[in-house]
């Protein structure tokens, strides 16, 4: 009695082994650009095009990088900043998620607090850094708070937007099968919002790095931001670049970790834009 018409069954079996058009070697292009940048960086100071005091050649930065990471004091600074970033990120994401869910679930709360939300977003968060140092001191807590304040917002907004973008017919379906609001939230709204929430989490990661570093710039005795500020003051620009490389690696590493989780968790995502 099965009437699985071959017309639409056939469409389901996608041609997996489609003849692939030869793709241009994009990876090679990327590497070439990278090599070009390094080459210019190495040659420009050597040829006297830029002052080596301001822009040390690449090889000097590479040596400085090795020199920095092998210093016995380096781990203390690295883990101080890492700790601030991770704590700020984790707390920021938790707060952003919680507030986003609350505002989405209770429309009244959203209407009442929305002016504050917008006002807060319009304020450049960096301006709070001196205040937090004044209130919480030169230790890690002022940097963690700075990272939280700067990173929770994208998570909040994306959670709110994601939960509010649940298609009307999915909600209707849940009502037609007598689902409670809580069931609809857990089984439909939250998974639906997850891809959008994850985009906010990625932004939060980058922001929490900024928060920790800005906090350290304003007042700290430990951390990579403190080191960067110190070396800059001492005009050891090669070391400044070395710290920047470390910070960039932290940011990139975290980003790829979140990206990996995103791919694993949100396997059903249709759009390729991330």
């Amino acid at each position: 009695m099965s009437v699985a018409s071959s017309a639409d069954t056939a469409a389901a079996v996608r041609p997996a082994a489609r003849v692939k058009k030869a793709e241009p070697p994009y990876r090679l292009y990327t590497l070439l650009i990278f090599a070009l940048v390094i080459g210019v960086w190495e040659l420009a100071p050597r040829l006297g095009l830029v002052n080596e005091i301001i822009v040390p050649r690449f090889s000097k930065v590479a040596v400085a990088f090795y020199g920095l990471v092998t210093q016995p004091f380096f781990p203390v600074h690295l883990f101080t900043t890492l700790g601030e970033i991770v704590a700020g990120f984790a707390i920021g994401v938790t707060i952003g998620l919680t507030l986003g869910i609350l505002l989405a679930v209770f429309p009244v709360a959203k209407r009442v607090t929305y002016p504050f939300v917008v006002g807060f977003q319009a304020t450049p968060k960096v301006v709070f850094a001196p205040l937090f140092v004044a209130w919480l001191g030169f230790g890690m807590s002022s940097k963690v708070v700075m990272a939280v304040v700067i990173s929770f917002f994208p998570v909040l907004i994306n959670t709110l937007v994601g939960l509010e973008s649940v298609p009307e017919n999915a909600k209707m379906l849940m009502r037609s099968i007598r689902a409670t609001r809580f069931q609809t939230f857990i089984k439909v709204s939250l998974p639906h919002a997850l891809p959008i929430i994850f985009a906010g989490i990625k932004a939060a990661l980058t922001f929490s790095v900024i928060g920790a570093i800005v906090g350290e710039f304003v007042g700290a005795s430990k951390g990579l931001g403190y080191l960067l500020d110190l070396y800059n003051y001492q005009l050891r620009i090669d070391r400044v670049f070395a710290v920047i490389v470390v910070l960039a690696s932290i940011g990139a590493g975290g980003y790829f970790l979140v990206e990996y989780l995103d791919r694993k968790l949100i396997f059903w995502r249709e759009d390729q834009a991330r």
């Binding site: 009695m1 009437v3 699985a4 069954t9 389901a12 017919n169 999915a170 009502r175």
Partner: protein, 273 residues
């Protein structure tokens, strides 16, 4: 109303499979007014319809004639402004577990497999999922998806996705199936196959079907009766009995009676315009 139409209204259904059956849905004096920003829109006005058990009834009409609104009210998804809807003698105040609802879109959850989508209502309603799983698999096999239990919606064609949606309602053995242009988004051939399949399944399971469409031939082909609705305000313009023999085959569309009935419906729609 012309006498040609009047003579058909509420006439005993000749070849209907529901002949002499009891009423399952009773809509009385139903009106629905939507309060928009500046003005009130009368979506439905004074709708009276009775649908008998095991009957297949279609609602046809232009966009905005209130047919979907009526279906949503019968489903308990929307409140009526005035009037009542009773299903099996009980006033409708919320969706019932004996009523299945199918939308124009399949509305599958993309992170769930085919089988898991069909089991969603069981989870939500707190049924024994293991027991329902057996039933779900047999229904999925019936609609031709026995080999796709672990597939995800995006791997399926539109027609197959709608089959999953069909399996999702049929698994729970509804007494009444409400369908809002369920195959409207599919291509002609797939829709025809799905319609035949639906007729067979509804007949076998003894399900009453209320079917909303804007396709006149589809309505005639499927139904025991066609309720013709006209817009502004949405109301019933006439009810046409379809005394064509069952089981219906595609060939029935070539019969003069089929053409005549389609024309009657077109006339009612046109006259009200």
């Amino acid at each position: 109303m012309s006498s040609a139409v009047l003579s058909k209204v509420d006439a005993p259904a000749g070849a209907s499979r529901s002949e002499g059956a009891a009423a399952i849905v009773q809509v009385r004096g139903l009106s629905k007014i939507f309060h928009l920003d500046e003005r009130d829109v009368v979506a439905l006005e004074g709708v009276d319809v009775t649908i008998r058990e095991r009957e297949f009834v279609s609602f046809v009409g232009r966009s905005g004639c209130g047919k979907s609104t009526l279906l949503n009210i019968i489903a308990g998804l929307l409140d009526a402004s005035t009037g009542t809807v009773e299903i099996a003698g009980q006033p409708v105040i919320e969706p019932s577990k004996h009523v299945g609802f199918m939308f124009q879109a399949p509305v599958l959850l993309p992170w769930r497999t085919v089988e898991s989508n069909v089991l969603l209502p069981a989870e939500v309603m707190g049924l024994d999922v293991a027991a329902v799983r057996e039933k779900a698999r047999s229904v999925l096999a019936t609609v031709g998806l026995g080999d796709f239990l672990t597939a995800y919606p995006k791997q399926l064609s539109g027609g197959m996705q709608q089959r999953v949606a069909l399996a999702r309602v049929l698994t729970y053995e509804p007494k009444l199936l409400l369908m809002d242009e369920p195959f409207g988004a599919l291509d002609e051939f797939t829709r025809e196959a799905m319609n035949l399949e639906l007729l067979r399944l509804a007949e076998t399971a003894g399900i009453t079907v209320i079917f909303v469409t804007h396709n006149i031939s589809e309505a005639v082909f499927m139904s025991d009766r066609v309720v013709v609705m006209t817009p502004r305000p949405g109301k019933v313009a006439g009810i046409v009995d379809i005394p064509l023999p069952r089981p219906r085959e595609i060939a029935v569309m070539q019969q003069p009676a089929f053409t005549g009935l389609s024309f009657d419906i077109r006339n009612i729609l046109g006259r009200e315009q």
